[in-house]
């Protein structure tokens, strides 16, 4: 056990975690040059396309240190975006140490702090690593000072490297071996294994990623899930190298996988403890904090026949993405679907894309909403996260909406624009202080609903990418809200309704109409799009009828090409939902909530 190191790489988004992981993998000789490509651990298509990590990814590396000894390094690359911080916290639960990466040009940012706190809560040993020292704008000494003074981390332990050029990466690995503690635990004790991730494999059933704290496990053992007493016979255990590598056994201190022919998806829950049936441990490990989803949206299949497929797809996805919640829902416009809870808008988009790609579905997501508390005149309170269930306004006494405390870190020069942005978003009680020279930490209390409404994109744009942002839920506060409805050719589309502040209703209504006009293609007849509050129409756009849609030429040489064009047009229609007689593209439902940048 002396020669094992379990650690995560944590940082703000884009500070180079996945790139550093690449260098580690290469230094440990895990891949040939031919197998290698950048951000090797970002294996999902959607990660590669967006250039960000979405899932924590574990890999087990053999490493011969300068002292001549051989080590097993269990590395977990984590995501940096706020929406995926639950991935980080689960990864940290499987580790004794963490590398906290800081971009030498950007310095400390919001998720640098947030992730450091997470590591500290898990009692991890933290090594600060200043990355991207190759950048012309890098200021390693300045950033080192920030780390020492603002984060209170030991200056002697700071590592400097460039994950891009590889400079200094070998000394970072040495620091991992020398500064991080080996795991503790006793292989002879009853098994205590924490499930920190899982995914469903159609052939082998659920594949569980776990960290063994005590005991050992091998093929043939009968395991027990402590939360529901489900028992299974272990078929295979092993390590995650670039692929799964079966091992004879896993023992205390190790990180690996278990396959046990688990076909009942709901039996496996990340955070649960696995023990052995004939020799169980006394009590389960602490597990993970309950997650609070903050954004809600309903997911419907474009084709109503796909409802069953969607149901199993969501179940399978929650195995691999424990931060997603769901329950049944229905809509007059869209039929049967699921109301889902997300950690943010990016999370929502990722879930949509993963469901569509991994399960070959075509989906519609309704306009995202937060959870409101609606106090009725009869003295009862109703929680509503779906505008479709908004009660009759005459029965409402008052409404409360969730507020957050937003923490924004920016270079001083952006103070003005950020302040304006927060005011536009109904921010109150703003504060700021100077945690370090030239940088401002700006805090502000804002309704959560204003944050899901493209706040992050706007912040990035007004601060030219320099602003970073984190938030905590505060409390519920009274608000003057109204329900904004959208009518397409006179028919109310429940999936497009949203709750908005009365003062913003008109602007939001106009914006929604404009966006829909952009998104809905012209059809054979004129389409009226209206925004309404109660019975009042507050915004209107018209999409004129399509009058011309024809290919001028088609001869022998391009029959195939022209046919393919038509087939593409046909496929596009399949991704549209007919509401009344109007075909609304899938993209329209989310577009309503996005701003123009």
């Amino acid at each position: 056990m002396e020669n094992i190191r379990n650690f995560s790489i944590i940082a703000h988004i884009d500070h180079g975690k996945s790139t550093l992981a690449d260098r580690f993998i290469q230094l440990c000789g895990m891949v040939t040059d031919r197998q290698f490509h950048d951000q090797l651990l970002d294996s999902m298509d959607i990660e590669r396309e967006r250039g960000i990590t979405i899932k924590s990814q574990a890999i087990c590396l053999p490493y011969r240190a300068k002292n001549g000894k051989d080590y097993i390094l269990n590395l977990v690359d984590t995501p940096g975006h706020v929406d995926f911080s639950y991935e980080v916290s689960r990864a940290l639960a499987s580790c004794e140490g963490a590398l906290l990466l800081v971009d030498a040009a950007q310095g400390i940012e919001a998720q640098t702090l947030a992730n450091l706190y997470l590591a500290m809560e898990n009692n991890l040993e933290v090594i600060p690593v200043i990355n991207k020292i190759d950048l012309p704008s890098a200021d390693p000494e300045g950033v080192a000072l920030q780390i020492e003074e603002d984060l209170g981390l030991d200056a002697d332990h700071i590592q400097f490297c460039s994950a891009k050029t590889g400079k200094g990466v070998d000394t970072v690995l040495e620091a991992v071996v020398n500064l991080l503690p080996p795991p503790t635990g006793d292989p002879e004790k009853p098994l205590e294994a924490l499930i920190f991730d899982a995914f469903y494999d159609p052939f082998r059933g659920t594949i569980i990623s776990c960290r063994l704290f005590e005991g050992r496990i091998k093929a043939g053992d009968t395991i027990l899930f402590m939360s529901n007493n489900a028992a299974y016979r272990v078929e295979e255990v092993g390590f995650f190298r670039l692929t799964r590598e079966p091992q004879k056994e896993l023992s205390a201190g190790q990180v690996g996988y278990i396959i046990a022919g688990i076909k009942t998806i709901t039996d496996t829950r990340p955070g649960d403890t696995i023990t052995l049936k004939d020799r169980p441990c006394a009590k389960p490990l602490p597990g993970f904090q309950e997650i609070k989803q903050v954004v809600f949206s309903s997911i419907y299949p474009v084709s109503t026949d796909d409802y069953e497929t969607l149901a199993t797809a969501i179940e399978k996805l929650t195995l691999n993405d424990a931060s997603l919640s769901f329950q049944k829902d229905s809509s007059t416009a869209l039929g049967f679907g699921f109301r889902c809870g997300f950690l943010g808008l990016l999370h929502l988009e990722v879930v949509q894309e993963r469901l569509e790609r991994e399960f070959d579905l075509s989906l519609i997501l309704t306009v995202p909403s937060v959870n409101y508390k609606i106090f009725l005149k009869d003295g009862t309170m109703k929680e509503v996260d779906n505008p479709a269930y908004y009660p009759d306004p005459t029965t409402i006494e008052r409404i409360e909406e969730p507020f957050i405390k937003a923490t924004i870190l920016i270079p001083e020069r952006y103070m003005g624009v950020v302040m304006t942005l927060c005011m536009e978003r109904r921010g109150e009680n703003t504060h700021h202080h100077y945690p370090m020279p030239g940088r401002i930490e700006f805090t502000c209390e804002v309704p959560l609903a204003e944050i899901i409404y493209d706040f992050y994109d706007r912040l990035k744009s007004v601060t030219q990418g320099y602003g970073s942002f984190d938030y905590d839920l505060l409390d519920y506060r009274e608000s003057d809200l109204v329900k904004l409805d959208i009518l397409v050719n006179g028919e109310r589309v429940d999936a497009l309704s949203q709750l908005v502040h009365r003062n913003n209703a008109r602007a939001r209504g106009l914006h929604a109409c404009e966006k829909l006009k952009e998104e809905i293609p012209r059809q054979m007849f004129k389409i009226a799009i209206q925004a309404a509050v109660g019975g009042n129409i507050i915004g209107r756009e018209t999409i004129s009828a399509l009058r011309k849609d024809v290919l001028a030429k088609c001869y022998g040489g391009d029959i195939s090409r022209k046919r393919k064009l038509l087939e593409k047009q046909k496929a596009g229609k399949k991704r549209m939902k007919t509401v009344g007689n109007v075909e609304i593209p899938q993209s329209a439902f989310l577009a309503v909530l996005k701003s123009d940048q």
Partner: protein, 393 residues
């Protein structure tokens, strides 16, 4: 319709009619700003290309599929075929006629650009059997021709038409374009009037399409090209149908107009989704349902042929149902529509049986008419044909 209920006993050659032969000449004096055809600018076209083409003609004429068939049309298109000299072209036509079986009354067309034809060339083409000339006029206005990047002038176009008549051509097509940058409905009317004054047997009137990766596409992206608005373009289209119908050239395909008996038989075969052999760089063939294309680059084409290899690039072979749908989609481009008897002969399928409810919906929307012997687009369906075709494809 479920696959079980597809008819059996039909082969890709069932109900087949006489095929056409197409030769592609992928060279032009200069490239027009809107053009996305497979064509390359050059002043004097390479002789090696013609050698390769001739060798392909001999190769294919010797294949069983061709030997068993009698071709009804020959079409030499481009590019600009007349960038080669009259003798070279006449030799090419002669070689085709000598190598393949042709029907007695075969339609033999050569495409030409006004500033590349000469009187001797026209007479020699006529003498070898070419009986149809298709001239790329596009517009009768030097301003518009300039804007399109065409290499000829209005004067050259008029001279070419007169020369063709004098050379004995009694079946002439003029290509014209509308919806051009800076063009008004009145300009278009003038072009049509000018064209009609020459009494052509056939007119092809294309709305300008901005094709990807052309100079026009780049200009549009930069916002540097102002095209006439939708209303104006629709007015031009309406004007075209009216004026040409009055002039005895009724519309017979989305963009084609002809005097009775002068419809282009070579192109009708494409719209009926018939068989054809296409030779030359980038040409496409469809032999009894097997479709394949030739490498686009003329030099690569010539090199492969010289090495004795088949210069092919891609092929596809569609299922019976897919060929049926493709035939419907192509056939609806014709004003008279698609013959139900023909569909039955070739595929054993009827549109009503195959498409079911969808066809009824389109009829209810007034976009198509299902008559006892044909399926066609209505007056209202024609300008939005893609809306219909993308449902039936």
């Amino acid at each position: 319709m479920s696959p079980e209920s597809l008819p059996t006993g039909f082969t890709p050659a069932s109900g087949e009619e006489s095929p056409g032969l197409y030769l592609h000449i992928p060279f032009c004096k200069s490239r027009c700003a809107y053009c996305s055809f497979n064509s390359y600018a050059c002043q004097s076209p390479p002789a090696a290309y013609l050698t390769a083409l001739a060798s392909q003609i001999r190769h294919w004429a010797d294949q069983q599929w061709c030997r068993e068939r009698t071709f009804a049309t020959l079409f030499i298109g481009g590019g600009t075929p007349t960038i080669y000299g009259g003798n070279e072209l006449a030799e090419l036509v002669g070689l085709c006629l000598a190598s393949f079986n042709f029907t007695e009354d075969a339609e033999i067309t050569v495409e030409a650009n006004p500033n590349t034809v000469t009187m001797p060339m026209l007479t020699s083409l006529r003498r070898t059997g070419v009986n149809r000339l298709s001239l790329g006029v596009q517009a009768f206005s030097d301003r518009l021709l300039g804007a399109l990047g065409r290499s000829h002038t209005k004067g050259e176009a008029c001279a070419a038409i007169k020369a063709a008549r004098k050379g004995g051509f009694t079946n002439i097509n003029l290509d014209l374009m509308y919806g051009l940058p800076g063009q008004r409905a009145t300009d278009w009317r003038e072009s049509l009037d000018q064209a009609l004054a020459f009494g052509p047997e056939h007119l092809a009137c294309y709305e300008l399409t901005i094709e990807e990766e052309t100079p026009f596409a780049r200009l549009v992206e930069k916002g540097a090209l102002t095209l006439p608005g939708e209303e104006e373009v629709l007015a031009m289209a309406a004007l075209t149908h009216d004026l040409l119908a009055q002039a005895g050239l009724p519309r017979y395909e989305i963009s084609n107009y002809a005097a009775s008996g002068n419809q282009c038989r070579h192109n009708l075969n494409y719209w009926r989704n018939g068989s054809y052999l296409g030779l030359g760089a980038g040409a496409v063939s469809c032999l009894s349902g097997f479709r394949f294309s030739t490498v686009e680059e003329p030099e690569a084409f010539a090199a492969l042929v010289q090495k004795g290899e088949l210069p092919l690039s891609e092929g596809e072979c569609l299922s019976l149902a897919a060929r049926f749908r493709e035939s419907v989609v192509m056939g609806l481009r014709m004003i008279e529509g698609i013959s139900l008897a023909r569909l039955q002969r070739r595929f054993g399928l009827t549109p009503a049986g195959y498409y079911g409810k969808m066809l009824e919906e389109l009829q209810e929307q007034g976009l198509i008419v299902l008559a006892s012997d044909s399926l066609r687009l209505t007056e209202a369906g024609l300008p939005v044909a893609n809306q219909v075709l993308s449902r039936l494809v």
